[in-house]
Symmetry: none
Subunit: 417 residues, 2 copies
């Protein structure tokens, strides 16, 4: 089965926004064992939307449309699709009620034009939006399906997996082949190095497709196998994952939907270890990532963002002489920060990062991107140093990544007691 993708919005053609939905949809469609016939993006323009639909449906069995379902005047997707097929609109009372309830629950101000989001072309089946007010819909015409979702990425992703893909599977029951996918997440290595290291592996010969998706500070490898038999597809992916793991073991930090902070949180919780964090150059980002994990209050006692030298002394007990002699960005300071925050937090572990995020503050000896990361457990304190490339945000993100990796490596090889 062939699927086309149509993205609608002036923000795309004006260059205001980059389309991130298409690549996600392409991935999901391919995961089903279906083919992507083409992708198109047009502005909020009724005749162009109609022509685009006709062009895509001439080559594909289904088209997935995103964008232009909002309540405002420039959101014309529903109207344009109805016009393209000569259909009138109707109001779906269930959708209207759910949207109203969503507004009431959040004390949002209900305006008349919100009712527009419960209107669909005649014959369309609404698709619920669990994370927003713009409902989607699917429409069957001449044996082909038009499925429409909002453009907001978080809403589109949810609706694609919960609503659109199941509906397409239902409409085209014989098109689906079994698919097995394994995502492997890597850090601390470049994409071209990964490519070179994996070059000798004959993935095609294993019946597996390899996709590589850099998503700083990570690289995600996707191993995909399709077969009439689910077990066979899974077995192939498993074998390929073993081959990748053999070659890239030390760079792998998570699989599938897991995040680095999620893996660290699970290890801390499982081992009943508590953590305190002292951050300088990362400015709170390490703690922000850890507290994104539900239940992080079980292990995270406190964190100190010690931006000034005084705060490093007062809060963490780093002697002023150490900072004076070695600098706030030094191995010595990093180690004392980790030990200090562990002590004041009464925790099992203390994690610290200090560095120069730039753009100013660098010297010949300690250029921008110099970062020291230390981990103290009350017996020993380890410290690693890094020279990170890029702008301020990129250095913060990379430093937080290496701090969490240091913690993960420690926890993976460590038995508490």
């Amino acid at each position: 089965m062939k699927v086309g993708i149509l993205t609608i919005g002036n923000e795309l053609t004006s260059g205001k926004t980059q389309d991130t939905n298409s690549s996600f949809i392409v991935r999901e469609v391919n995961r089903q064992g279906w083919e992507v016939a083409m992708m198109m993006a047009v502005g909020d323009d009724t005749p162009e939307i109609g022509k685009a639909l006709a062009h895509i449906l001439a080559a594909a069995d289904a088209v997935i449309v995103t964008g232009g379902l909002g309540p405002t005047a420039d959101d014309i997707t529903t109207d344009a699709i109805a016009a393209a097929f000569g259909l009138k609109l109707y109001t779906d009372e269930t959708a209207l009620e759910k949207i109203r309830q969503r507004f009431a629950k959040r004390n949002y101000h209900w305006t008349g034009n919100n009712a527009k989001q419960a209107m669909f072309p005649e014959g369309a089946e609404p698709i619920a939006n669990p994370v927003g007010t713009a409902w989607g819909f699917s429409l069957k015409r001449d044996g082909k399906i038009v499925a429409v979702m909002p453009g907001v990425p978080v809403e589109a992703r949810q609706m694609l997996t919960d609503g659109v893909i199941p509906r397409l599977r239902r409409e085209f029951p014989h098109a689906a082949r079994h698919v097995a996918v394994k995502i492997i997440k890597l850090s601390g290595i470049g994409e071209s190095s990964v490519d070179q290291i994996l070059a000798p592996v004959d993935f095609a010969g294993m019946g597996v497709a390899l996709g590589s998706y850099p998503n700083f500070p990570e690289i995600q490898l996707a191993l995909t196998a399709r077969d009439a038999d689910q077990g066979t597809a899974e077995e192939r992916v498993r074998a390929a994952a073993v081959a990748v793991t053999e070659k890239l073991k030390k760079h792998i930090f998570a699989f599938d939907g897991d995040t680095l902070e999620g893996v660290v949180a699970a290890l801390l919780t499982e081992k009943h270890l508590t953590l305190a964090v002292a951050e300088s150059c990362t400015g709170g980002l390490i703690t922000d990532r850890l507290t994104d994990v539900p239940g992080s209050s079980l292990f995270l006692e406190r964190a100190a963002v010690t931006y000034s030298n005084l705060s490093k002394s007062e809060l963490l007990g780093v002697p002023e002489e150490v900072i004076g002699k070695f600098g706030a960005v030094s191995r010595e300071t990093a180690i004392l920060m980790a030990e200090g925050v562990r002590r004041i937090g009464h925790t099992d572990l203390g994690l610290a990062a200090t560095g120069i995020a730039g753009p100013s503050g660098g010297t010949d000896v300690k250029p921008v991107g110099t970062v020291f990361i230390a981990l103290a457990d009350g017996r020993t304190t380890v410290c690693r140093d890094f020279l990170l490339a890029g702008g301020r945000r990129r250095i913060k993100v990379a430093a937080s990544q290496f701090a969490l990796i240091l913690l993960k490596d420690y926890l993976s090889g460590h038995e508490h007691g």
Copy 2:
């Protein structure tokens, strides 16, 4: 003038690679004052390439094509375009010689199929590739231009600015119009309310296009005007911005490239005020955002992420009895956190946030999303409470936004001294 973009390659439809060329081309085309009519992506498929070209050229004056110019068998773009217009291929001797020289200089192995990269449709003008072996070309048919570039991003970017854009400017000398754009950033209001409030403003009558782009927790409004005269375009946008500001003043926090944290940082720096932050539910995110701004060490003294009740007492001096009586998530605790962190940080201002980010921890009286934000300046302490919707990350992001807005509002209306 209208330009279409066509990206060619199975790696795009299979999800192996993400298209990064289109967004770059969109931006450059818009910078010229031209419009992007549409974007398309198709696989390496001769009939589909032909149909895509026809579809785009029905709506656009020119099409910029990338991908499929390499030496291998699946690189069929040149053949497909020649076939679409019924043209034969010819070898350009200059291009052939340059490609040969490039191979010789780098000691690359010359294979027969490399000569393919010097072949173009009859009537096409070759476009040199300064950074690779795949030359591009442009072709004029019925007053419309087809410009073709390789898919490798670094080569496509170079050829676009050096070869394709100048050629399009030469072919359409009267098409270039000047563009003025103003971005207005809003917070604390929904997209549909913005739409309704601005409905009475006749932007079209002012010669300005209004775009609305929700980007949680912000809404960005883009005002765009095009004119033969740059001054006129800018004047129109300025007038429209005044109209928007009049209606939405209290929700506007920044313009153009400015961020909320950047505006707050500039105000603190300008007023020579120092800040300490105490975070609970936001987990470090407020401080992370502030420290994204270069030079934030000028005003940010320290921050404490006091996740445990003990840390609130020990670090910030919030009495255990207050937490026991009113709860860690309460107006009383928020106020004492702000005052406490200001005191220990020896700063002019103390900012604090405490709340329930969920998914667990909510009660009937204090459901998930309850957040208190307090700001202390040594004379008075203000506290605002919020009931925020969404998942854990969304609540953290919204809480950090409202904390920074509270700070910005205070600084905007405040003279130090």
